[in-house]
């Protein structure tokens, strides 16, 4: 019942918003409007990308000078030797950084090697063709991963200690976290992997669940962190799931891939490459699912927040604000849901790998 009402409300809001948008365009004060639109678009694009400095917010001062509030992060490059310097040398991507006689420039959030003027050469499709040094910089996302690392380590090691001090009972945050840990164990690991093998995978499942969840939640804070919408991060997680699945696969698992029992021989030959491809598609889907869900959530949420500034009237902005509020709550759910789905599917793949078919 409640869900119906929510769906109705959202539909109604969307309808109203579309009318208001229509009216807006008809009135057409096009100059400032499109300016602002492209500004919002650029802002969203910028938000989705990683960056070399930790920028909380920027503004243009009265004198037309761009000001940034935040701090620079270390840039670590491997370009015929290790090069470490502060990202403040880039001046927020506006200038060329000179290190040991080499020149580097940030272009579309990537570091390119350039000449002293910072010339970027392009191919026909307008892609930069400059040399890219190996980049191991502590970017905003890396910093965020480190922060989550520290938070998780602090939180859970404290929880573990509270058990010891308190005679086998959790204390403080542990009381809140224990049911979630038990949920991962009893509702995710046990039914999907099986009573016999699930213990081996608990460390990975718990770590990945809390990591993805906490990182997603931080993504919703106004600090503007957004780790899980980087394909590199989700690829890393999916790759670990893939490797664990592959290396824990028993005889039965491989038999079901290369020589499917219970089907005629020609079918076995057809099925083998499909099954083999399936082992790669599964983690690939994991990677894309997490990446796409978080990216889409951020784009939609930020677009709607951007609409507040585009409308500049009480009705449109008010509705956009309410819609953004509802969506933000939905995103809170998605943050947990994606962590859950990633963990459940990983557990499911591990379960397939260690399954013993006694009934065949």
């Amino acid at each position: 019942m409640r869900r119906k009402i929510t769906v109705k409300t959202i539909t109604l809001l969307l309808l109203l918003v579309s009318f208001v948008t229509y009216g807006q365009e008809e009135h057409g004060h096009s100059d400032s409007g499109s300016d602002r639109k492209s500004e919002v678009k650029a802002y969203i694009q910028h938000h989705l990308k990683d960056s070399y400095d930790f920028n909380l917010f920027s503004w243009t001062s009265d004198s037309g000078e761009e000001k940034h509030f935040g701090f620079p992060l270390p840039v670590i490059l491997w370009d015929g030797g290790l090069k470490v310097f502060s990202s403040s040398k880039f001046h927020h991507g506006e200038s060329v950084a000179e290190v040991d006689g080499n020149y580097y420039k940030v272009y579309h959030s990537k570091i390119y090697k350039t000449d002293a003027e910072g010339t970027i050469k392009y191919d026909e499709e307008h892609h930069a063709t400059n040399e890219k040094p190996l980049d191991f910089s502590i970017t905003k996302n890396v910093l965020m991963i480190m922060m989550v690392f520290a938070i998780m380590f602090f939180m859970f090691s404290r929880m573990a200690k509270s058990y010891k001090k308190n005679g086998g009972l959790p204390k403080g945050t542990g009381r809140f976290l224990e049911p979630i840990v038990l949920y991962v164990r009893d509702e995710i690991a046990r039914p999907n992997i099986g009573e016999k093998h699930y213990k081996r995978y608990m460390s990975y499942l718990l770590t990945v669940f809390f990591f993805v969840w906490i990182v997603n939640l931080f993504g919703l804070t106004p600090i503007g962190m957004n780790v899980t919408n980087n394909i590199a991060v989700t690829l890393c997680l999916a790759l670990i799931t893939y490797l664990i699945t592959t290396f824990s696969g028993n005889k039965n698992y491989w038999k079901h891939i290369f020589w499917m029992p219970g089907v005629p021989v020609p079918m076995k030959i057809i099925l083998a490459p499909i099954e083999l491809l399936g082992t790669i598609i599964k983690p690939f889907a994991l990677m894309i699912r997490l990446y796409a869900n978080i990216t889409a959530g951020h784009v939609v949420l930020m677009s709607i927040i951007g609409m507040v500034f585009l409308f500049q009237n009480w009705l449109g902005s008010g509705l956009s604000f309410m819609l953004a509020f509802v969506l933000a709550i939905l995103e809170l759910l998605v943050a947990a849901l994606q962590a859950y789905i990633f963990t459940v599917l990983s557990a499911l793949y591990f379960g397939m790998a260690v399954e013993e078919h006694d009934d065949h």
């Binding site: 859970f156 840990v181 990975y204 990591f211």
Partner: protein, 166 residues
């Protein structure tokens, strides 16, 4: 797809891999293992406690059943004893009654016998007394009678006459 490749950052991948794998191992050592171990031992403890409670309950039931049985037996025994006692009492009373009756009869009989002998003795004594009295009287009478000749004669005659009548 192209955008995905373009967005891919090797550095981020490297850091994520290093940090995440380190996090897994660190948390396994310092968090997950102790947490899951204590949760497990706690669950084990709860299970054991429940089991022992169940066992205690069963023992209690057994004990109660035993008690009931004992009580029942005791009650039966008591009833049997009471019954026996009652019977014994009745028998004793009965016995006493017969004994008493016999004794009384005996006493009465003895009394009657002694009365009889007494009576006989008394009668005998009376007889002797009467005889001696009679003799005395007879003596006196005879003496008086014999003081007169006639009278002596008459007496002899009457006596003789009586003697023949006898």
């Amino acid at each position: 797809m192209e955008k995905l490749f373009e967005d891919f950052s090797l550095g981020l991948f490297f850091w994520q891999a290093v940090l995440f794998i380190a996090l897994i191992f660190l948390l396994r050592k310092f968090a997950w293992k102790p947490i899951l171990d204590s949760v497990n031992s706690r669950e084990e403890g709860i299970r054991e406690a429940l089991d022992s409670a169940e066992k205690a309950k069963l023992d209690m039931q057994n004990l109660q059943a035993d008690n009931e049985k004992l009580l029942k037996e005791a009650r039966l025994e008591r009833e049997a004893m009471l019954k026996e006692a009652r019977e014994m009492k009745a028998k004793m009373i009965e016995d006493a009654k017969t004994d008493a009756k016999e004794e009384a009869n005996k006493l009465v009989a003895a009394a009657q016998a002694s009365i009889e002998t007494e009576k006989k003795a008394a009668i005998a004594e009376l007889k002797t007394q009467v005889a001696s009295l009679s003799i005395e009287i007879a003596e006196k009478v005879v003496r008086e009678e014999l003081s007169n000749k006639d009278k002596q004669m008459k007496l002899v005659e009457s006596m003789l006459g009586e003697a023949t009548l006898n």
